[in-house]
Each structure stands twice: as structure tokens, then as C-alpha cells.
Symmetry: C2
Subunit: 257 residues, 2 copies
């Protein structure tokens, strides 16, 4: 099977012209098929502020009313996505920028209201693997903005980490998939204050032990649980690293065993 | 050869939720392969105003500085394009929204500065016909936003009428192409004040005669000269009509003879 690397990168990296350029250069050097899933939250927040639109965050998730949806659609699917695509084209990668609505790529449902009404936020139900496979086989590099649709004409703001994970899982039958999450630390740290304490390889057994011992805690737990769920669905490895280390590959490698 | 209809629709129609819905329903009923090229100028002007960005127009063309380019990229490639795509998906058309950067679809060069510096405005040099042909053969409906790229990472604001014309011409070798321009009149009128004076069929010979007699004048002359240039490149017919008449097809049909 062919190698496929799915990379998720956050807003901070792709919204700064200089870090974007360096990051895309490193991304372009990854061998084999590639998919890039990006955020854009910083610019979205800035634009919303300038327009006087309130977009409160609850537990790191944006409450998305109709006006906020317009803002994120403009920023994620327009500004950020198309700048990435143009830069990848300049690096001789035949990129195609897509939302979940394009080619019916990612179908989602509006999150049901329980305690909190998140508004126009989508929970992913299906990633269209055959379409992505066809694009990859034609050597296109899909660049996915975190906007999906419900099939009834409604766009939905969707978590980019989730899109990356679901995309990796959906393609695990057809490719040897590794999933790289660029984040703001060097990797998973045993001591949050010491980057030298980074775990190079983390297996399920070790994770459960570290969790029991209270060494891995808080926000890292759901992140790593998601990683192991992805592995359980056939993804070969999940890597957590700092975007600036994409070229060296230094980071925490998460494997089943 | 298969039938292909390229439709260009302006901002006014696609930015109003009600007229957009009606228009897309009519568009979806067109038989055979279809491409939609859209504008979005009204929303772009509104957003620029809200953000305090000046985007002056010269002869109907927008002067596009770096900040204005961000605005049109957000509005055309993000907001307007993705709303159209989501609505077409709901109408069971497998739409894919693209700029000229995506799949290296439309290569353009930054307009050289003569009397006026238009800024980040692109003049189309090449439409990637093989890629569009492949998408159409797979039954996708390309929805093209009027943003192109220069191959060096620079996005460029580009006239939607020109994109529609160049796209129609590029595909005239592979399809029976008709090009429909939705505009704000019923068709070409002999008397501008009387919609009953619409010309149903206009040939090159008749056009030259009307022009000499001063019956067709002003802005209609370059518009029709462009239409005949398109026909000279193999497009079968060019139709000028009001968007609300897309379903009946009532309008002015422009043919070579």
C-alpha cells in the first residue's frame, strides 16, 4: 500500500506569512501522498472582533451563530485555504483546497443542543474516502478547511483535529496512514516544564500506566485517547510534534504496541 | 461531443439568499455538463467598507491592494463560493468550488502598470482544460470563484466575465459549449428603454450593421465583441439573459451566422 501522511496544522502557523512559508516548504518535502488539514482560529477571532461579532469560546470550542459562521467560512475556506494552495502550487505540489461541501467530502450533522447550544457546529458523520483516494491517486494534495456540510445546504464549523483524525481513519483501508498533529509543544512531556522529558515512543500500555500514575493528565488525556482510537481504526502511527520540527520528525510517536 | 453550459452569474443574484436559491434551482435543471462562474462584488464592497478598507473602482474594475485582495479572497472563494457549493449539493449536484490556484486551474499574470496600477489583479493567460475536462467527465460541477494565481504563490483578483469566456474557449475542443452571461437586462435591446425591443438572435453581420447605425453602443460594444471573439474560438453560442429567465432561456442568442 502507498504511504499517506495526514498533517493537521493550527491557525498560528498558517496565519503568519513567515512561519507559513517555512511550514509549507517542510510539508512539501514529505514523501508519498499527503493531505493537509488546517485551522485559522486566530484570524477568525480578529475578523469577528473588527466586525463587532461576538464569538465566545466554551472549552476551546467556538459558539457559531449565523454571523460567526460567515466569518469562519470566509477565513478558513477563503483566506487561509487559498493562500496555502497558492503557496503549495509555487512549490510544485498540485494542491486543491476543499471544504466538506466540495465533492461531498465530509458529511456532518449540526451538533444537538444539550447543555450548550454550539450553533452551526458540525459533528463529522462520514468522510468520502473514495473521492479522496481518487484525488490522491491523481497526485493532488487535498488541503482541507474545517468547514463541513449537512447535505441540506447548511455549512457547519467543524473541529480541524476531528477532521484530520476521521480523514486518516477513513483512508486506513487504502493507504499506510500516519497522522501528524502539529501542536505547541515538542511532544508529550513527562514534566510539562521540561522539554527534555519528551516521550519518544508511547504505546497503549505505557499510556494507561502514565495516566494511572497521574503523569499524563488534563487536556493530554482526551488528545491521546483520540490518538489510540485512530490507531484502533487502522492508522499506523500518530505523531505529536512542534510544526518547526516537521522536517526532522522529532516528536512523540504513538503506536499501538 | 457532449454538451457543456458555462454560466456566469453576478454578485447581486448569488448574494441574496432568495434569488440564489431560485437561480441554483434553475441552474441545476440545465441538461448536460455545467460550470458556474460567479462574482460577489456587492458583499466584497460591504465587507471592505465595514473594515474601513478603501477599494476604489476605475471603469468598473476594482483597484486591489493587499488588504482588498484579502477581502475578495474571503468573500469570493470563501463565503459566496462555499454557499453555492453547499446549496448545489443539496440539489444533488456534486459541486466543487475552485479558484484558479486549485488544481492549477487558471494561470494569470499581474496586470502590468500603465496609466493605472490595478494592484493584485490578474489577466488570464491559461485555463487548464484537461483538468476541467476530467472533472466534468466525472460528473462534477465546477463552481469557479474569480480569483486566480500567478504560479509563484500570489493570488490575483480576476474579472469573472473573462474567466467565463476563457473557460468556455478552452473547452470548445472537447465539448459543444454554450456560454450564458446572466446580466441585468432581458437581452440586447434595440431601444434601451423598451424590453420588447430585445433582439432574439444576433449574428456578426447584424452586429456590425447595428454598431454602424449607432443602435448598439457604449458598454454593449465591448461585451458583444468579446462574445464574437468567443464564438471565433469555437464556442457554439453565447446567450445574454436575465438570471430570472435562465429557466425559460429567453434572451439574446449570439451566433456567428
Amino acid at each position: 500500500m502507498h504511504q499517506l501522511t495526514v498533517v493537521k496544522v493550527g491557525g498560528k502557523i498558517v496565519e503568519d506569512p513567515q512561519s507559513l512559508k517555512t511550514f509549507l516548504k517542510d510539508f512539501s518535502l514529505i514523501a508519498g501522498n499527503k493531505i493537509l488539514v488546517h485551522g485559522g482560529g486566530v484570524s477568525a477571532t480578529q475578523l469577528a472582533e473588527k466586525l463587532g461579532i461576538k464569538s465566545p469560546m466554551v472549552d476551546g470550542r467556538r459558539i457559531t451563530d449565523a454571523e460567526t459562521l460567515k466569518v469562519v467560512t470566509m477565513v478558513y475556506a477563503g483566506l487561509v485555504n487559498k493562500n496555502i494552495v497558492a503557496h503549495l502550487q509555487a512549490l510544485s505540489l498540485d494542491a486543491v483546497g476543499l471544504t466538506g461541501a466540495d465533492m461531498n467530502l465530509i458529511f456532518s450533522i449540526k451538533r444537538p443542543v444539550k447543555d450548550i447550544d454550539y450553533g452551526y457546529v458540525g459533528d463529522v458523520r462520514e468522510v468520502n474516502a473514495p473521492v479522496l483516494k481518487e484525488l490522491l491517486n491523481q497526485n493532488y494534495v487535498p488541503v482541507i478547511a474545517p468547514i463541513t456540510h449537512d447535505g441540506n445546504g447548511q455549512l457547519l464549523n467543524t473541529n480541524a483535529d476531528t477532521i484530520a483524525g476521521e480523514t486518516a481513519k477513513a483512508l486506513a483501508y487504502d493507504f499506510n496512514v500516519r497522522l501528524i498533529y502539529c501542536f505547541d509543544k515538542k511532544g508529550v512531556l513527562l514534566d510539562e516544564k521540561d522539554e527534555n522529558s519528551m516521550i519518544q515512543l508511547l504505546t497503549k500500555e505505557e499510556f494507561l500506566q502514565y495516566k494511572e500514575e497521574g503523569i499524563i493528565k488534563d487536556g493530554m488525556i482526551p488528545k491521546l485517547e483520540n490518538a489510540f482510537e485512530t490507531l484502533a481504526s487502522g492508522v499506523k502511527e500518530v505523531i505529536l510534534l512542534r510544526a518547526s520540527n516537521l522536517n526532522t520528525g522529532e516528536g512523540t510517536y504513538i503506536k499501538w504496541n
